[in-house]
């Protein structure tokens, strides 16, 4: 595993250097703190840096509503404070609307009374695909970012989303489009002159329409993939807790991302019990052991990920929820100093 050396060593330094940053992505397993840290970061940017920020949850387990203590699920882009907007899409509903529009298109194209059975079957089986949710949310991400209403987009990703697969899908599809385009051009050369005078056949038109769709799909996938790969405009953070499994998972994820040409910007270690607690004589054996284990794992983390660790966030005595507590998390995130 190769980590590129960088010139920033804290979360704050990262943002001080990356002036063109446009998108932040938080990845990692569930329950480690992606939503909490996305929310805290959005508060910092909207408040301290007066940046119009949208924080978007792509996690089907709707959670921004929970941390902000306000129901925003499926309600569009909601303003929470000056420069702070949040959105949590209802993927089920989006998929329902989307498949409905596919049906409508079929009705319109063929003037049918009802959708043929095998087509309906196909739509239903596609709908049931687990990848459907993911695609719908990534597609929504692309729409939001390309509309460009905000200066900063913060994406709270589903646990190790397979979204990176989109990156390779974009390339595969791009290849197919090139091949098809190429062949269509060649085939036109061969076509009889007479056919040219009759204009485009029905089949030609259908092909054109398909090519149009394929090209647009390719562009959307490419948008997503170049967004992930753009190190000046995109920050890609992994959240980690000092536990053995989490460390292994993170290493594996970093390797996988790198295979897709995506390098992570940094790691944030969350839920670390303050070692000072060890001085407390009333500390339970359980916690004492836990803290000691965490410190060992923290050393491993520094050894393995070195200068990629951009912040270490303590375990708070209660769940950080609501703007006030999240502001405290933001402070800990942005004021963190690297130990020697």
């Amino acid at each position: 595993m190769k980590l590129m050396s960088n010139t920033y060593s804290t979360y704050t330094e990262f943002f001080d250097q990356k002036k063109d940053i446009r998108t932040l992505i938080f990845a990692g397993k569930g329950g480690l703190g992606k939503t909490t840290l996305s929310a805290a970061t959005s508060i910092h940017f909207s408040n301290e840096r007066i940046t119009k920020t949208l924080v978007f949850s792509t996690d089907p387990q709707a959670s921004l509503s929970d941390v902000f203590e306000k129901d925003v699920f499926g309600k569009g882009e909601i303003k929470l404070a000056d420069n702070l907007y949040v959105t949590e899409i209802d993927a089920d509903r989006e998929i329902e609307l989307y498949t409905q529009s596919v049906r409508q298109k079929i009705f319109d194209l063929y003037q049918l009374e009802e959708i043929p059975e095998e087509i309906e079957e196909y739509i239903e089986s596609a709908k049931a695909e687990p990848a459907m949710h993911e695609s719908a949310t990534y597609d929504a991400m692309v729409s939001l970012v390309s509309r460009g209403d905000y200066k900063l987009y913060i994406f709270d990703m589903p646990p190790f989303g397979h979204g990176v697969r989109f990156v390779s899908t974009a390339d595969v599809l791009d290849n197919w489009i090139h091949k098809i385009t190429d062949m269509r051009e060649k085939s036109e050369e061969y076509e009889e002159v007479a056919a040219k005078f009759t204009g485009k056949t029905k089949q030609d038109l259908a092909e054109d329409a398909i090519m149009g769709e394929l090209t647009e799909i390719r562009d959307r996938l490419t948008f997503f993939s170049s967004m992930l790969k753009n190190e000046d405009q995109t920050g890609f953070f992994m959240i980690l807790v000092p536990e053995k499994m989490a460390i292994l998972d993170t290493e594996r994820a970093i390797t996988m991302f790198e295979q897709f040409g995506i390098s992570i910007s940094g790691i944030i270690v969350n839920q670390v019990y303050p070692p000072e607690l060890l001085e407390d004589e009333d500390l339970s054996d359980f916690l004492k052991h836990k803290i000691e284990m965490q410190q060992t794992h923290l050393e491993t983390i520094y050894k393995r990920f070195g200068d990629r660790v951009l912040a270490v966030i303590p375990m708070y005595d209660r769940e950080p929820k609501g703007i006030e507590l999240l502001s405290k998390v933001a402070k800990d995130l942005f004021m963190w100093e690297k130990p020697d």
């Binding site: 196909y122 596609a126 259908a206 092909e207």
Partner: protein
Amino acid sequence: MSEIGENTPNKEEEEPKGIRASVKRLVYGAAMHGMSRQALKSRMYFEHMFMLITLGDLMGIPILPPYYSLRILPYVVPQIKTWKRRMLKERDLTDAFY
């Protein structure tokens, strides 16, 4: 549409693997090696190609995520019914694409 290459009655049931394999050969072969003039003229190629891009996931050749396949689906509705049968009939044509 799970019936493509699967759950199909009588004769078609015998060689689902063969059909899949020949579709794969057909499309990849054509894409890799280019096509003969005849094949280009038949334009059958595009139909196969588009069907494959749309429904490839059902045949174990996923090209598009199903979310995006749905965008192509409306354009291939008329072909879907006949496609399977034609694939079988024209299996021998595969060679023409090399």
